[in-house]
Symmetry: C2
Subunit: 226 residues, 2 copies
């Protein structure tokens, strides 16, 4: 059987989520780096793998799949991983699914916007940061993070769970985007801070390995502000 292939770039937060998930669960895979900065995702060759020309993508013996969460769910079941990664019990799974849907249009969307306005847009358009738009999205993200603590971490050490799941991996990887631009993630959010440390420890050494790119962006961002 041909080996599982992962097309990814650790600059992309959903790529980091899938890479960390594969490493933490011990699933063997072949690394197929796609350098976004070099436009390797925009080639005709890559469009044959993913018509949306985005990473991550897996190729599992000819079965090609894109979108990070569907990749994690498929791997959890096809590799018979420990149940906590993507629970079988209907109500438990439903809560994780409920979080993941909320996640896409809340954590992912607004964390991406805060990063985008400060890093991607100024570079792409050679313009200063749009402070008014930034303030708007930072305020929304603040409400989102408060809800994350009070709703999804209300009674459990992980998202709706006593053990780690794909929801925690997806969430922490999105939050690292705004850590890179020095957003005060943990200010007045002790539950979020404790959860972040717990998830990081649970996923290390793979978490820190994947996040070296985040640290690089963060250091560059902080240096540019001096």
């Amino acid at each position: 059987m041909s080996r599982l292939k992962l097309y990814f770039d650790l600059m992309s937060q959903p790529s980091r989520a899938v890479w960390i998930f594969l490493k933490a669960t011990g699933i063997p895979f072949e690394e197929k780096p796609v350098a976004l900065r070099k436009g390797e995702h925009q080639t005709e060759e890559f469009a044959k793998i993913n018509p949306f020309q985005l990473v991550p993508v897996i190729d599992d013996g000819g079965f090609v799949l894109y979108e990070s969460l569907s990749i994690c769910k498929y791997l959890a079941k096809s590799r018979n991983l420990a149940d906590h990664w993507y629970p079988s019990e209907l109500k438990h799974r439903a809560r994780i699914e409920s979080y993941l849907q909320w996640h896409c249009l809340m954590v992912r969307l607004f964390a991406s916007q805060v990063f985008r306005i400060q890093v991607i847009e100024p570079r792409a358009m050679n313009k200063p940061v749009d402070r008014q738009r930034l303030a708007k999205y930072e305020n929304i993200l603040s409400v989102v993070l408060d809800s994350f603590e009070t709703v999804w971490l209300k009674d459990t050490p992980y998202i709706c769970s006593n053990e780690i799941s794909i929801a925690d991996v997806a969430c922490i990887c999105e939050l690292m985007q705004v850590y890179a631009v020095d957003y005060p993630l943990w200010e007045d959010r002790p539950k979020l801070e404790a959860w972040s440390k717990r998830v990081r420890e649970r996923l290390n050494p793979h978490y820190d390995q994947a996040n070296f790119m985040v640290d690089k962006v963060r250091n560059h961002f902080l240096a540019s502000k001096i």
Copy 2:
């Protein structure tokens, strides 16, 4: 056993998706209308049911669940529905999941924005439609719909399937938002048009019943342009 309760408003597109799904699959439920226009979702009482104060929500004998897609997935499995609604086979399900993740940040996000800029924002802020923002989002939605045809409907009459699934129900309900504001959904998109008719027929009479609100908004929108 207490009966399944659905908190909903047919003005909300995810509410319409769950309502149509319940009717089309014959799952008995008690209707708990929540009138968004009257602010019934903003009461303290409703916040006890859903801390995000959004619809739809189900209460299944004390098990409360929000977020439309997780509700459909949970019901498909807990009621042992016909497999096509949410397939069991791993790769088939993975493709549906892949679509659903793409859907949230593409179809749902951009169709909502096009509707919002033309209906919700002018009313809430008592300002004319922001034509520049509208054109931007209409252009993105056009690309999204082209991809919908060429990728997700590439080889199958329904989304990645030979039979209808929760993906089709979710998608058609979001698209009805832009139908309400006369967006040229079907212009030069024969596959999308044929798919829409197919899904509507498959879900009728429930589809038309739920969409009377869409028609009402559309008629009002068209009249305001004369």
